[in-house]
């Protein structure tokens, strides 16, 4: 089995990890309550999608 020949330097490790980034989700305002929510998904705060009640809140 192939194994690493050398210990990876702290620098290399940190350079690699510096590219792990969180992405801001694209939010849209809800039709009904104007709360920010994810697109194409029922609003978690008022429970509506396309002005139709989907979830009981």
């Amino acid at each position: 089995m192939a194994v690493p020949k050398r210990k990876m330097s702290r620098s290399n490790t940190r350079h690699r990890r510096s590219n792990w980034k969180a992405v801001v989700p694209a939010l849209v305002a809800c039709d009904r309550c104007h709360e920010p929510k994810l697109g194409h998904i029922a609003c978690p705060s008022c429970g509506t999608y396309n002005r139709r009640q989907v979830l009981s809140v």
Binding site: L38, H40, I41, A42, P44, Y49, R52, V54, L55
Partner: protein
């Protein structure tokens, strides 16, 4: 060449999958709306709609075909006597899937699948509504134009 079924593979194995979908279909007809993962909802939709189409035909042959999937006799009865007549005039599209975001714990995308309710809009009413919308736009444009003309004449 055999073409795989659309959508995700479900369950612990090939024999588990139809059983799982049958269970979901039974619950859907029993409760009218169920919350499940989006992948399961997307697999359930074609199955449930085919069962409703068979239930709409309503004869003994179709009842036996549906009974292969819906083994609970009371649910079978509701499907044939209550759900199928409701969709008498609806040409397919009996269910609606609405995404409701990630599940707490594993962030699995969840969805609500429900039997569609209410009367379907006939073609005539749809055409009428569209025509009305077009007229409104036209009138608004005309009003804007006349206003612009008036402004020009006053300037001249």
């Amino acid at each position: 060449m055999p073409r795989p079924t659309k959508g995700a593979r479900l369950g612990g194995g090939p024999s588990h999958e139809p059983l799982l979908l049958a269970g979901l279909a039974r619950e859907l007809f029993q409760y009218g709306r169920i919350t499940t993962t989006e992948a399961k909802a997307r697999r359930l939709r074609p199955l449930a709609e085919k069962l409703i189409t068979k239930a709409k035909k309503g004869d003994i042959h179709n009842r036996r075909l549906v009974r292969k999937t819906i083994t609970d006799v009371s649910v079978l009865h509701t499907l044939f006597t209550e759900i199928a007549p409701r969709f008498e005039n609806r040409p397919g599209g009996y269910t609606r899937i609405t995404k409701i975001g990630g599940r707490r714990g594993d962030n699995a995308p969840m969805a609500v699948i429900e039997l569609v309710e209410g009367e379907i809009a006939t073609k005539a009413t749809v055409a009428e509504a569209e025509a009305a919308a077009k007229r409104a736009v036209k009138e608004a444009e005309q009003a804007a134009e006349t206003k612009a003309d008036e402004a020009e004449t006053t300037e001249a």
